[in-house]
């Protein structure tokens, strides 16, 4: 991510993280699942990094590593410039408060038996000790996310999805974090609610200088909120860079396919857009394809793609892409995939 040079260290950073699971089976059938396989991400304060990819691409796993909710098999995690990979126990619990998460389904992210006041005061532990103080702080947080403090006595099921997602954001803020990971925070909400949550997140960032990690498979919402974006496929970053550059000139076929898959609410424009429909599903991370992992679904796959890992190509607008189209062939050399007119596998 070639963010502008800040004096401050990144709010959060993971370097070459790997998360491998071993699935035990009969002897000889033990499989290693590489959910995240060498991912580096870095997020500056007051910036948003969008993390996109299909389910199974490893984006949630990478986020959980960043939040120190999951131990990486290897790699390092840095928060505000400090290496926290080796922190454990009580210290880790204190550390976790620096990074918070907002989940996709607001209902399952709140204890159904606890009132909002209860859930929020749990989040305020350590910030305010006495009950009355906590309640006052909770009311303040509710106001900050645009909810009436009178809702504090309610239970999760008594609120609408949008209201509860606001409460989830309030809970995240309660820990006074420097980074909030947003895991598909609006994809379960109605359209009008989505817009409101996005603008709430926007204004909170402007007020507090929070850094966001925005995880989604929906690229349109990511664009609204992110400064930079990293596209993940099978546990690896395939393309990353400033959001406008990636969206307008996708260098990787996977990015182009993801972009074309989101229909825009305008029939005339939607009909004239090129469609790249990927076939099949994302392959199993226990047995990824050799060479470029995307080659099995790539309309432009070449023989070289099966043989070697694609090298990084960095362009002057700050985008880094891992694709043989730019180095071998050589056909693109940093140009957008969309300049390839003769798409072999697309329908117009």
């Amino acid at each position: 991510m070639n963010a502008p040079a800040y004096a401050a260290p990144p709010a959060a950073e993971i370097i070459d993280a790997q998360v491998h699971y071993t699935r035990r089976g009969w002897p000889g059938r033990t499989a290693t699942v590489r959910a995240v396989d060498g991912v580096s991400l870095s997020i500056m304060p007051a910036r948003t990094l969008g993390l996109v990819g299909e389910s199974g691409s490893g984006k949630s796993t990478a986020a959980r590593v960043l939040l120190r909710l999951l131990e990486p098999t290897s790699g390092r995690v840095l928060l505000n410039g400090h290496d926290v990979t080796a922190v454990h126990g009580r210290e880790l619990r204190a550390l976790r408060r620096q990074t918070q998460m907002v989940f996709q389904d607001p209902y399952s992210s709140f204890d159904p038996l606890a009132s909002l006041a209860d859930s929020l005061s749990e989040a305020l532990r350590g910030r305010a000790e006495r009950g009355a103080e906590r309640l006052a702080a909770a009311a303040e947080l509710m106001a900050q996310v645009g909810l009436s403090p009178s809702l504090l006595s309610r239970h999760p099921r008594e609120l609408s999805g949008g209201q509860l997602q606001r409460a989830a954001i309030a809970r995240a803020l309660a820990a006074a974090p420097s980074l909030v990971a947003l895991d598909e925070p609006v994809s379960s909400l109605d359209v009008s609610t989505q817009a409101q949550i996005v603008s709430l997140l926007h204004s909170l960032q402007a007020q507090t200088g929070l850094a966001y990690l925005f995880i989604s498979h929906d690229l349109s919402v990511v664009r609204r909120l992110s400064h930079d974006v990293a596209v993940l496929y099978l546990g690896r970053v395939v393309e990353s860079g400033p959001v406008s550059a990636v969206y307008e000139r996708p260098r990787h076929p996977y990015t182009a396919a993801l972009l074309s898959a989101v229909p825009i609410p305008d029939p005339a424009r939607q009909r004239s857009r090129p469609r790249i429909v990927l076939q099949g599903d994302i392959p199993s991370p226990s047995n990824p394809p050799s060479g470029c992992r995307f080659r099995t679904r790539c309309p432009w796959a070449m023989p070289v793609c099966a043989q070697t890992d694609p090298p990084a190509t960095t362009t002057e607008d700050g985008v880094t892409t891992y694709c043989h189209l730019h180095s071998d062939g050589p056909r693109l050399a940093g140009e957008s995939v969309l300049t390839l007119g003769d798409r072999p596998d697309t329908t117009a």
Partner: protein
């Protein structure tokens, strides 16, 4: 409370209130929360219905079960009698009267006397003391031991869990009575030792149960939220996990109490429980058995009946508690979804309610083109609520031609799902019933049709895809078989042909390695795959019409693109689709015509390009602007303020007027008529004079 609305988290009527919230200064909340949350009241079911174990709703639900109430009453009586034994009995339990041994019931001896002339009634009451005491003590002690161990093992997991569970397995592999006998034999007979022995017998099962529940709750997102807040594990377990396990424990404890009563009787029967002369039901039984088995059967009946009634009461109460607390149903996190599944459970329970006389054909349009496949006329769906019947869908008319894809869009709570289910008569009745209207499919009246005939149409001529694929698939049958079954249900083909068609269909919905997927059970597939299996099942018979309720919601965009591509192809083969969705992008991509629903009515219907370019209803304009601002980089504020009116609280006049920036006095009083003009309809007084903004 949130019932009728959707399984998607935000998909509920109140969420539109957000539109307003975001625009006002922080701290001020313009929405009437009471209204927002009361927006959709499930008939006969209040907000507290799904509340925490201690809530009033639980008691009310328990009180509704006659068996459980009787059982609880009986147990209360037993406990009272046992506690107040000296005051409710006329004789001391050990007072002998050898002259009147084996006496029958009399005014002085209500249940007669035993072999030593002791009063059976007072022995029964005093016996309840030791029987109940041992039962309660043993279960309480088992819980005191099992709760911390189970919570610890379940939450900690790993090696600790492994070791604990091996002990539990060991405990459970010994026959319970033998274990109890061994313990009592080692400790010596007596009521206290019997309690201890039974506690040891019960503990493994409790531990296993609590540990299992803990494992499940531990995976819930809210526990991960607590972890990321740095809450110490002890607090997470005590405040988040334990309360969510309590209902299960309560139910299990009640059921185990019955077993404890029985076990105590068994121990006393063999002389290892309460020691003479203090009576217990088991020892009474033993005495009657050894002295009067053949001569005075009555003396056996009394303690036997007491034991049986006690055990029965505990079990009935346990079952009642299970129902009242929702134990054995989907986990807490998912309970809110009962609503929708309740309605769609109508897959088996079909609305047979008589449809009131078909309305006078409205047909103001005269559009009776020959290729109309499905026509809905004046459909009205009424929900039975505690406040009386409330119209949920009002006067909905819709036409779908062959090979046409019609979108039904609207915010959650607009009634679009109800409409799509009503068409197929899949509404659960009660609470929902079709009160008026006509649904004609290929010339046949679906609403008055014989059920058997309807079943032949469903699945064969009309395919259906609903939200929540997990509840629509049979969890114990391989998905391949389920798809093949759908073929064989409607066509006389060989098993093999059916299977080949199923494989083919899986390929078409974009499932890689279909032969392997065919052998999977639903739970082995990802959510996206299950959704596609549902779509394959709906399409495998080559229906002429597909009714799809949010079929791509929750799918990856890449998979969604595959499904949309497939539907486009099937349209070329003349399949028609009723596509219920809230995603205007998908609508723009796929559909030919759009019907916009609001508060139970279709407020606008138009061909796709017209609707997007020149909306004629203010609500449509608002929806278009909201979806654009959610997607585009430009920070545009959403256009619709306020919230969808609650069911039964729809305002007079145009239902949309409180949220409409163009509303005039006329809109507040007069319901706008449906106006047809050049192939489009709208329900707005000012449609002709307003110029609304579409997508540029």
């Amino acid at each position: 409370m949130r019932d009728l609305t959707a399984p998607r988290a935000g998909d509920d009527v109140a969420s539109v209130s957000e539109a307003l919230i975001g625009e006002v200064p922080v701290g001020e909340v313009p929405v009437d929360e009471g209204q927002a949350t009361a927006a959709f009241v499930q008939p006969g079911q209040g907000a507290d219905e799904e509340a925490s174990p201690a809530s009033a709703g639980t008691w009310r639900r328990l009180a509704r079960q006659r068996g459980a109430v009787v059982a609880a009453g009986w147990l209360l009586l037993l406990v009272l009698a046992a506690t107040l034994a000296p005051w409710v009995t006329l004789h001391a339990p050990a007072a002998q009267d050898l002259l009147h041994s084996f006496g029958g019931p009399s005014a002085s001896h209500w249940l007669g006397t035993d072999d030593l002339g002791r009063d059976v009634f007072s022995r029964l009451v005093y016996g309840a003391r030791s029987s109940l005491q041992v039962s309660f003590e043993s279960v309480a002690l088992a819980l005191v031991l099992a709760i911390p161990v189970g919570l610890f093992a379940g939450y900690r997991g790993g090696q600790v869990d492994n070791i604990v569970m091996r002990f539990v397995d060991g405990g459970m592999s010994v026959p319970p009575l033998v274990l109890a006998l061994a313990v009592v034999a080692a400790l010596g007979p007596g009521a206290n030792n019997a309690s201890l022995a039974l506690a040891i017998v019960f503990m493994p099962a409790f531990t296993r149960l609590i540990r299992g529940q803990t494992l499940a709750v531990k995976e819930e997102t809210f526990v991960e939220a607590s972890r990321s807040l740095g809450t110490p594990p002890v607090l997470i377990v005590a405040r988040r996990v334990f309360p969510n396990v309590v209902s299960t424990i309560i139910v299990q404890a009640s059921l185990t109490l019955g077993g404890a009563l029985l076990a105590e009787a068994a121990l006393s029967f063999v002389g290892l429980g309460a020691q003479p002369p203090s009576p217990s039901w088991g020892s009474m039984l033993q005495q009657a058995y050894s002295t009067g088995l053949f001569t005075h059967a009555w003396s056996l009946v009394v303690p036997g009946a007491a034991i049986a009634a006690g055990v029965l009461a505990f079990n009935t109460l346990g079952d009642g508690l299970a129902a009242a607390l929702g134990v054995g149903r989907p986990s807490n996190g998912r309970r809110r979804r009962w609503g929708k599944s309740r309605l769609s459970r109508g897959l088996t329970r079909v609305d047979r309610g008589p449809v009131t006389a078909p309305p006078a054909p409205r047909s103001p349009d005269g559009d009776t083109s020959r290729d109309t496949l499905l026509s809905v006329e004046g459909l009205r769906v009424v929900l039975d609520t505690s406040a009386g019947p409330v119209p949920a869908v009002e006067d909905v008319s819709l036409r779908i031609g062959e090979g046409e894809i019609v979108a039904l869009v609207g915010e959650s709570g607009s009634g679009k799902s109800l409409t799509s289910m009503a068409i197929m008569r899949l509404l659960a009745s009660p609470p929902a019933a079709v009160a008026a209207g006509q649904v004609t499919f290929a010339g046949q009246d679906l609403l008055s049709m014989d059920l058997g005939e309807l079943r032949r149409i469903r699945g064969r001529d009309i395919g259906m895809v609903f939200q929540d694929p997990m509840s629509s698939l049979n969890p114990s049958i391989r998905v391949g078989e389920q798809i093949a079954e759908a073929v064989r249900l409607h066509e006389r083909v060989a098993r093999r042909t059916a299977r080949e068609r199923a494989v083919q269909m899986l390929v078409e919905v974009g499932i890689a390695d279909p032969a392997a997927r065919m052998r999977c059970y639903p739970h082995e597939l990802s959510g996206g795959m299950r959704q596609r299996v549902m779509i394959a099942m709906a399409l495998v018979c080559g229906p002429r019409l597909l009714i799809a309720d949010e079929p791509t919601t929750g799918l990856d965009v890449t998979v969604q693109a595959q499904i949309l591509e497939l539907l486009r192809r099937l349209r070329r083969e003349r399949m028609a689709v009723l596509f219920v969705t809230h995603d205007l992008g998908v609508v723009a991509d796929l559909c030919d015509r759009v019907a916009v629903m609001y508060a139970g009515q279709i407020v606008e219907e138009a061909p796709i390009d017209d609707l997007f370019a020149r909306p004629r209803h203010p609500y449509t304009e608002g929806l278009l602007r909201a979806s654009r601002s959610a997607q585009d980089a430009i920070g545009e504020s959403a256009a619709i303020t306020g919230s969808v009116p609650a069911l039964g609280r729809r305002p007079a006049g145009c239902h949309f007027h409180p949220r409409c920036q163009y509303a005039i006095d006329l809109c507040r009083t007069v319901d706008p008529p449906l106006v047809r003009e050049s192939g489009r309809y709208e329900r707005c007084h000012r449609a002709a004079e307003l110029t609304l903004r579409g997508v540029a």
